[in-house]
């Protein structure tokens, strides 16, 4: 077993193990921490494949922003997770059966198709990469040219998300003090400052 293979199995096992802990730990804060562990290990897997840009993005965006946001939400919302799990045991037999069937089917797919390269022989070809340029540069070259269509639609999806969040949550309350830049800028020395002569020994 080579060095890289050893790390592959290490990262994979920790990823699967911590993903399992995300859904099974009792304390929601622990769940989020295990989620972060899963992300970091997935980033390690990306590194092994030579996708260093994706690995760093995964750390920066998912660990740095998304998971930390989760952590805040979990800590600030008083959600009774024990109560949410009440029906869990009732649905367990059905869910476990479905999961088992699903797992067997997936195992069949993997053993037939992936383990036997002949069955997909020649169909799937990896995109050729130029070893002289970095991931970031390779992505940058196609993102705004070949894939500009997807890029722009993604932008519109984010715009819809923003409009939606504002529409559903913004409320105009009466009596809220707001900043009025124009008023603030229009103030002069005369309206803002009052000069008082303070006589000695008497105070204001």
């Amino acid at each position: 077993m080579s060095f890289a293979q050893g790390f592959f199995y290490l990262f994979s096992i920790v990823t699967v193990g911590s993903a399992f802990m995300v859904i099974s730990s009792r304390n929601p804060v622990h769940s989020v921490l295990f989620l972060i562990l899963a992300f970091v290990n997935a980033a390690g897997l990306f590194l092994l494949m030579g996708a260093e840009f994706l690995a760093m993005i995964l750390i920066v965006v998912y660990v740095g922003a998304v998971a930390v946001l989760f952590l805040f939400v979990v800590m600030m919302l008083d959600v009774d997770f024990a109560e949410l799990r009440q029906g869990f045991l009732n649905y367990l037999p059905l869910g476990a059966t479905l999961g088992l069937i699903f797992f067997i089917e997936l195992a069949m797919v993997i053993t037939i198709d992936v383990m036997d390269p002949k069955s997909i022989g020649g169909k799937a070809e990896l995109a050729k990469t130029d070893p002289s340029i970095s991931n970031t540069e390779a992505l940058g070259r196609v993102l705004y040219t070949e894939h500009v269509y997807y890029f722009q639609i993604s932008g519109l999806v984010l715009l819809v998300a923003m409009i939606g969040a504002i529409v559903l949550t913004l409320r105009h309350k009466a009596g809220v003090k707001r900043q009025n830049i124009a008023d603030q800028v229009a103030r002069t020395r005369d309206t803002a400052i009052e000069v008082k002569k303070v006589p000695f020994g008497q105070g204001v």
Binding site: I112, D113, I163, V167
Partner: protein
Amino acid sequence: MSSATVTLAQFAPALPEILLAAGALALVLIGAFRGEKSFGLINTLAFLLLALVGVLIATQDAVTVSAFNGAFISDSFGRFMKIAVLIGSAVTLMISGDYLKATGSQQFEFPILVALSTLGMLLMISAGDLIALYLGLELSSLALYVVASFNRDSVKSTEAGLKYFVLGALSSGMLLYGASLVYGMTGSVSFSGIASVLKDGTSLGVIFGLVFILAGLAFKISAVPFHMWTPDVYEGAPTPVTAFFAAAPKIAAMALLVRVVEQAFPHITGQWQQIIVFIAIASMGLGAFAAIGQQNIKRLLAYSSIGHVGFALVGLSAGTAGGVEGVAIYMAIYLVTTLGTFGCVLAMRREGGYVEDIDDLAGLSKTHPIMAFILAMLMFSLAGIPPLAGFFAKWYVFVAAVEAKLYALAVIGVVTSVVGAYYCLRIVKIMYFDEAKAPFLPMSAAIRLVVGVSGVFVLAFWLYPAPLVTRAVAAAQSLF
């Protein structure tokens, strides 16, 4: 690397969509600057924008062209479905003003979200690969989740939006999983690339992925067994939004489903055919039986729409050009009938507000004879009674199924259609033979227009079906 020389002419096939996107952004700006009182203006502008886009699409040349490296396909099938979607969205904007005013949610974002959602639907109808499919679907769905809970002070509306969002996200996840499996097994995301790989036989992994993609799309068209969200969301969402849900996204998702199975998986028809046949039978059956016991008219129409999706899928399961033609005709007629019916539901308004129970229609023939007559005709059309439009819709899909030797499917379809006639006739009975209740407030001019046009279409379709049928034939031919 290829130095990309891009000319504007390359974007020409997507010109209507680009215009819609730019127009929606301009509307956001106008709304932001003019403040909260700009609902009327933005609504009118959005309506005109949709109409302009519709005209542009209708006048495109009748050829199949693609743009953006094959991610965007413009063909006759797409144009037919896009016009239908645009009609659904534009009519929604026409009839929504009064309702939003009465419920105090008349914000200018509503027409903008409808326009952006419509853009997503147009993009998904034109999708040429799996990434464009997913992005178009998400763009349209995300806006739909927001408009479902647009009446944010109502618990029901909020619940509808949340339910739709959670289940929609789940179905998107399934779709993505299937798409990644198909990509992994074929090495291509474009529909034509997938089809060319599958020409020399398939593998278990592809079928596995196909099942997931179909599950995700079946959710979007609310076909059984992925229909659970439909009654709750239709009941909870504001009525104009329900009309929108029943019309535009359903047609777009159906068009997408047709395109995926006919363009990406034409060589494994036997594999998806059995799935489509099953969900068609299940949808027709559940739609017919579950609608019988409903008291709320929006819930009833939700079950009715599940049933109608089942009938449209009968055409698709034939897997032939005739079948796709049947789907196109079915969806077009379903669109007009549904919009007319929801126009009538929006007219159910008394002094105390909007009412939604079927019993509130009692004695409508005495208080509003014209509305009662048109609603009765729409119900007969939904039930498929000749010579109304709904009969021809069912005729084309059943003929396609019989020609494809799916006799059992056609027979089950006819039987469930008879069962489904019961709930349609029950509404007619309540309107014509029950004790009259207090009359409704007079309809607005826009609703009167929508209901009137829909009634005329349903009644007069058999006199002159040629325009719709020839276009549907051309649309179906462009896929094969």
